[in-house]
């Protein structure tokens, strides 16, 4: 295997909520530009693992290296700087409903450029507005820039959320069931768009999905969580749908 830069490294990390263990001794490394699908049954701990990797919640044990920074101990400014280098797309679009689409995308730059000028598109510097418009163009919604975010369909909202996640040119993207709240056809569109964008830019992606086909189609590699441990770590090419379904027991 070619030696390449490692963007994410989990070193035997564990997470417990109070007394309840979610997973333990999970280790893996993700190379730059890799797309990894994280699969597992409901409650297996996929969302929890993603949040630990991003430093959104603390791990109970072990160490997370994200882009060369120890994410699980980073605090304050260092943590914000690290978060500004990654992007997150969740199952829910989580747009601010009463603001315009453009303002929502401009918010994606707050990590790199904090302060009042990125509170609203009207205050934003030209470079930021241009970046936001070009992100909206990439998701095909430039015409909707001034629409209020709560006047969009679910699929459009999710595309705006993707624009918000990519506007700051993140090095790593996390996606937690990005199409779970969409109908099958809108879901396909969103997945196609998302992976076209990340492949173009050479971004490292880790995404969760309950859709076995999506995992195999969009993932270069599959990680499977079951019974509180990493039960599967293999290339997508070496697996077939039946192997994955077994993981769901």
């Amino acid at each position: 295997m070619v030696v390449s830069a490692v963007d994410i490294e989990a070193r035997s990390i564990a997470k417990t909520y109070g007394e309840t263990p979610v997973f333990a001794d999970v280790s893996f490394r993700l190379a730059r530009g890799e797309a990894v699908a994280l699969v597992g049954a409901n409650g297996a701990g996929k969302s929890t693992l993603l949040r630990c990797l991003m430093g959104l919640i603390p791990v109970s044990d072990g160490q997370v290296n994200l882009l060369g920074v120890v994410a699980n101990t980073a605090k304050g400014r260092a943590l914000r700087t690290l978060r500004a280098r990654v992007g997150l797309v969740s199952q829910k679009h989580n747009l601010v409903p009463r603001l315009s689409v453009l303002s929502n995308v401009v918010h994606g730059l707050l990590g790199k450029e904090p302060g009042i000028r990125h509170w609203n598109h009207a205050l934003a510097p030209k470079a930021s507005r241009d970046a936001a418009m070009s992100a909206l163009e990439k998701v095909g919604l430039a015409d909707y820039a001034m629409r209020r975010a709560d006047r969009l369909s679910g699929g459009q909202s999710q595309r705006v959320a993707i624009a918000r996640a990519i506007v700051s040119a993140p090095e790593v993207l996390f996606a937690d069931e990005p199409c779970a709240s969409l109908d099958p056809s809108a879901g396909e569109d969103v997945m196609d768009l998302f992976f076209r964008l990340v492949k173009d830019e050479g971004v490292t992606v880790i995404f969760t999905s309950h859709n076995v086909d999506h995992a195999l189609r969009y993932g270069d590699r599959i990680l499977g969580l079951a019974g509180g441990a990493l039960k599967l770590d293999a290339t997508a090419a070496s697996l077939n749908p039946t192997d994955l379904r077994e993981l769901y027991g």
Binding site: R80, L82, R83, R98, L99, G108, L109, G111
Partner: protein
Amino acid sequence: MADISPTRFERPTGLAFLGYASGIIIIFWCLAGAGFSVDKVLSSPPRFADFASRAFPPNLDPQVLSRLGTKMVETLQIAVAGAAIGVILSLPVALLAARGLIAGPWINHITRTALSFVRAVPDIAWALVFVVAVGLGPFAGMLAIVVDTIGFCGRFFADDMEGAEKGPAEALTATGARKIDVVVCATIPAATPAFISTSLYALEKAVRSSTILGLVGAGGIGIELKVGFDLFDYPTAMTVILMIAVVVIGIEQVSGWARTRIIGEER
């Protein structure tokens, strides 16, 4: 078939019985303290009828009406100015009072305790304090309304922000935004409908308060009520009471209309 349903009534336990009994005793003790008198209840209808017959018809003399009207406008000015300034000042206070937003638990606790104190002091007492501080007149009344509004909105704005949907705030936190940016960009927009609703309610409350601040010389129509009763000019006093009722009900209607108009059906 065996009867397995529970008995219809359960005999209270000794402790529960003691609780009921002491509750009843406390109520009787309070009635005594409040000077409750059957005699006075029985003799009051004729006296009330006497008052009513002297108060009706209300004084509708154009000159009196125009004087009262002017006072009513002043009352509304006190209420609107006081509520507006109070609502604006409540925002920063609420940011300090809201848990898990920008201030730590100690600041939350101190701010919330201070707000409880402000609410515990009645509006009329604040008016008395401000009459001493800035002299008789509507300005004292307006300051009383400002403080009263901060006590109310500071607390409820904070609750509104704590209860606002967390998703957008979390999404912005994940981009590395600072707390203050997250609050301005996600939490406050999410809480805006609740803010509007709370502010309109504060306005209704301010109008109700402002009508009686005149009793202690803090401006507004309240003074006319006092003078009317002091001079046994019951028809004029009755006019004042009716005007207050009409204005307060009117404000409630307007604010209800504004609420649905601004916030819309969804919240």
